[in-house]
């Protein structure tokens, strides 16, 4: 086991954790610069492929760090990178949510909850928009999205069935 590499993993990802304001994707350029150019853990092409894999897997997309840690230092590297990426930010969220719990009945919390709601809905719409751009939707994918949206909003069918059915449509090459 390479202690130097493990130390680098620990320092890199725990600092990226604190810097990743707005989500994990905001630190991808810096992650690329360090992992590819400085430490040579993986090549440019591998970084792009590994990014695609982490997007395809279920769960938080930040698990790209698990793969980078794995490539750099095997399973210990994978585990260390994952923990280092989540812990510092997690501690911060913990502290904030404690304060939030204490402020339960304050005017301050009520105003933030009510005020942020329309903004969050707008941000969610924005992320749906960006997702469909990133997935390189053509007109058939948009039709599928429209049909699924209609089903989700008007019926009580378990969404998992719909997502699986849409996956099947994609697998059959219909979109």
């Amino acid at each position: 086991m390479n202690i130097r590499t493990l130390t680098q993993i620990c320092i890199l990802f725990s600092s990226l954790s604190i810097l990743s304001i707005g989500g994990g994707n905001t630190v991808l350029p810096e992650m690329h610069r360090k992992a590819v150019d400085s430490y040579h853990w993986l090549s440019d092409k591998q970084f792009a492929d590994v990014f695609a894999i982490s997007q395809a897997a279920p769960g938080p997309s930040i698990l790209i760090v698990t793969i980078i840690g794995y490539k750099a230092a095997g399973i210990p590297g994978a585990i260390l990178a994952t923990i280092a990426m989540m812990l510092p930010a997690g501690v911060l969220v913990y502290l904030v949510s404690r304060v939030w719990e204490k402020a339960k009945d304050s005017a301050f919390r009520k105003a933030i909850e009510k005020g942020l709601a329309p903004l969050t809905v707008g941000l969610i719409l924005a992320s749906g928009w960006v997702m469909s751009k990133a997935a390189d939707h053509d007109w058939r994918a948009y039709v599928l999205t429209a049909v699924c949206t209609a089903i989700f909003t008007t019926t009580k069918i378990n969404p998992l069935f719909i997502v699986a059915a849409a996956g099947l449509v994609g697998w059959l090459g219909w979109i």
Binding site: I67, S97, E113, A117, L119, T145, I175
Partner: protein, 181 residues
């Protein structure tokens, strides 16, 4: 609101959310499960938590798991939720990474993912419809909603720039009126 979930409930629920979101749309799945199915939170509390978790550093969904875990069980709750959210995905990602570095191929699931991604966008849109029905009542919330969509979605301004402009306006608008208790 139903009874307080146990640590195992938290872990299993977040595991369910993570696995369900294989085409994306983790936020929409979180609402579907946490608000609609389990009724652990109301929409307003959930939505504000989502945006706070975005503003704070860290992966948004990991942050949300910490937030929900702490709400019910403090630090053990946070650990259970994060563990549930990440354990199976980490194992899957490792298996895919092993395959990739061994055989130099990205596992061929592109077609399935394309379909699932179209449905994930749809789930995200349906979340906009469902939550919007409640909180987009009135001119000002609709304007806030449109402004943040245009800035962040179309113009692609950074999240912090959009929110530092709009969030103060939103909070002033939402401040409880003293004459109407």
């Amino acid at each position: 609101m139903s009874d307080r979930p146990s640590l195992a409930d938290l872990a299993l629920t977040f595991n369910h959310i993570a696995l369900a979101s294989f085409g994306g749309g983790l936020s929409a799945w979180s609402r579907e499960v946490l608000v609609a199915e389990k009724r652990w939170m109301e929409d307003e509390e959930f939505l504000s938590a989502v945006t706070m978790c975005r503003i704070l550093p860290g992966a948004n969904q990991v942050n949300l798991a910490v937030f929900v875990g702490v709400k019910f069980h403090g630090i053990p709750g946070a650990l259970a939720a994060v563990f549930g959210l990440t354990l199976v995905p980490v194992l899957l990602v490792l298996a895919m990474a092993y395959f990739y570095f061994q055989f130099h191929q990205v596992p061929a699931v592109q077609g399935i993912l394309k379909g699932a991604a179209a449905a994930a966008v749809a789930l995200t849109l349906s979340m906009v419809v469902k939550t919007g029905r409640k909180c987009l009542a009135g001119l000002i919330p609709v304007l806030l909603f449109l402004a943040v969509f245009l800035m962040n979605g179309i113009a692609r301004w950074p999240l912090l720039a959009c929110l530092s402009l709009l969030a103060p306006l939103a909070v002033v608008w939402a401040w409880p009126k003293p004459d109407k208790p």
